[in-house]
Amino acid sequence: MTQASGARSLSYVLAFAVTLGLSHEARAERGTGLDGSFAGQADWMPYVPTLSVPTTATSSRTIEGGTLPSAGSLYFAGLAVDSSFVYRARLVVPLFGISGALAVGDSAALRSSVDGSIAEERPWTAFRIECLLPGIGVRFTARRWSVGASIRGYVVGVGMDATVASGGGSSDLSRPSRFGLGARADVEGCRRLDPVDRICAFVAPSLYEFGFVNGGTAGLRWEFGP
């Protein structure tokens, strides 16, 4: 009796484990789960925002806070790490991510002023960082190929080095920067390399970033997950 009961219990456990395993496999087949990605990307900002300068003490005077003018258009290159939740290989919920990029390409110093002192912005030192926020999207898969589109928000920060003239020399300004909220669309085309990995090319036009339709991001993304 005891042995029978033990065997029955064991069979229940095995059955539950098999059921759980099959269920998990079934979910995997349906493409549900967490997705991760690494991306190398290029960003284009046709309009770099005006930058805020905090009050800064230089060797000759204290400069009250102010703003530096837009550096115009800049290109960036950088990396991104991102995550998303995929439901049945169709519904994609971008979760959280982070990206950082540095300015690339030729750019000349930009002269302006802050609180009466002649300032020099150095666009070649510009950086941008993004904290990617949740959004919503879809994915369509055909054999090893898939295409997807999503829309999401993000917090973006842009900054660069700047100095002010001080007598015959110059003094550094506390790093001028500007933070804001943005929203972008993301369209990707992917090829699955194995059951887990995909390589994707993506284009993500900015819907809003310090202004409507302010450039965007494009690059290659290595995704892993369902």
Partner: protein, 360 residues
């Protein structure tokens, strides 16, 4: 395999970042770009009683007429006896003709009178300044009344005065300002109160708060920023703003001007001398010295002489002048603050067109 793919992504991003040109980094001033120069009431100062051909041509040109309203002849001095020099009738007559000629061009012509010569005690050491005497001040006032018959106003140059005569000068200015006089306006040229590169705040020698209510305009002479310190620019735009703010805090409703130098300085060892733009460029050419620009935009070069000595020359040109004036938007300095262009004739000939063409 995954690691290789990850490395590929990193390589792409790293390569793109390495393409950064940094064109502005190495000795590349990069130009002025589009800067706005607010329209301000303009004044030019001439350091002689006669107008030479180049100065006349400038004053007749459209850009200068557009930018400048007042012309100050800073060519009279009160001497140790209390007389205004030049005193000869012929010199005064010639000067009056000059002022009439410029008035005909539409300028308000002001007679600048320096007081520094009246403050020096003669003879005995430890002697008090003549200005301490009420009778001497009365004589100076009479001399000023005589000069004031010429032109549209008088500008008293209160620079280079010792602190010891501060109260005497205040009494003199107020006494002259409140006396019946044939002039239309009275202005004062005062030293800046913000510390310059040598750490000197020269404005203490003049009681601007006491004087301001009795004059029509206070002109803060933000010149010679680097004098007494290591070689450097003739003006620092931020220092000028600080000086203007200090003056504005004392002058109440009396309008304030800032000065923009049109000349430069030649620092040669321990000696310093002013230099005009053409002379600076000529020296630069003769010395074969590469012209550089400070972060303020001010051009400068260093040179050496055959016997081993040498120096540096700092001056202003159209680029640095535009940058300096563009650093004074109305959000930083009220629109009522004017600009005194100091030493007409010493300037880069291109400065007037550059200022006139700059967007306001």
């Amino acid at each position: 395999m995954r690691a290789h793919r990850g490395a590929f992504v990193l390589l792409v991003a790293g390569s793109l970042t390495a393409c950064n040109g940094q064109s502005g980094e190495v000795n590349d001033f990069g130009g002025v770009g589009a800067v706005d120069v607010p329209v301000r009431r303009g004044t030019v100062v001439l350091l002689s009683c006669a107008v030479d051909a180049a100065q006349r041509a400038a004053l007749q040109s459209s850009p200068v007429k557009k930018l400048v309203r007042d012309v100050i002849f800073l060519c009279f001095q009160i001497d140790a006896r209390g007389d205004a020099q030049p005193a000869s009738a012929a010199a005064r007559k010639a000067f009056a003709d000059q002022t009439a000629s410029l008035s005909g061009l539409g300028y308000a012509v002001k007679v600048g009178v320096g007081l520094a010569g009246a403050t020096r005690p003669s003879g005995k050491p430890k002697a008090a300044s003549p200005l301490a005497s009420a009778s001497f001040r009365a004589k100076v006032a009479r001399s000023l009344q005589d000069v004031a018959t010429i032109g549209d106003g008088v500008e008293l140059d209160l620079r280079d005065l010792p602190y010891a005569v501060r109260d005497d000068v205040t009494e003199l200015v107020i006494g002259f300002a409140t006396s019946p006089r044939p002039i239309k306006t009275l202005g004062v040229l005062v030293p800046p109160s913000a510390p310059n590169a040598a750490g000197l705040a020269l404005g203490n020698a003049v009681d601007v708060a006491a004087i301001a209510g009795h004059v029509d305009r206070v002109r803060v002479m933000t010149l010679d920023y680097s004098l007494g310190a290591s070689p450097g620019p003739t003006i620092d735009s931020g220092w000028a703003v600080d000086s203007a703010r200090l003056a504005l805090a004392e002058t109440g409703s009396t309008p304030v001007d800032l000065a923009m130098p049109l000349y430069g300085w030649q620092f040669n060892g321990s000696s310093e001398a002013t230099i005009t733009f053409p002379s600076a460029r000529s020296l630069e050419s003769d010395a074969g010295a590469p012209l550089e620009r400070a972060p303020s935009g001010a051009p400068w070069f260093s040179y050496s002489e055959p016997h081993g000595s040498g120096g540096e020359v700092w001056f202003d040109d159209a680029t640095s002048t535009v940058l300096t004036l563009a650093a004074w938007p109305t959000t930083v300095l009220p629109a009522g603050v004017g600009v005194v262009f100091y030493d007409l004739g010493a300037e880069d000939p291109g400065v007037w067109n550059a200022l006139a063409e700059a967007p306001p």
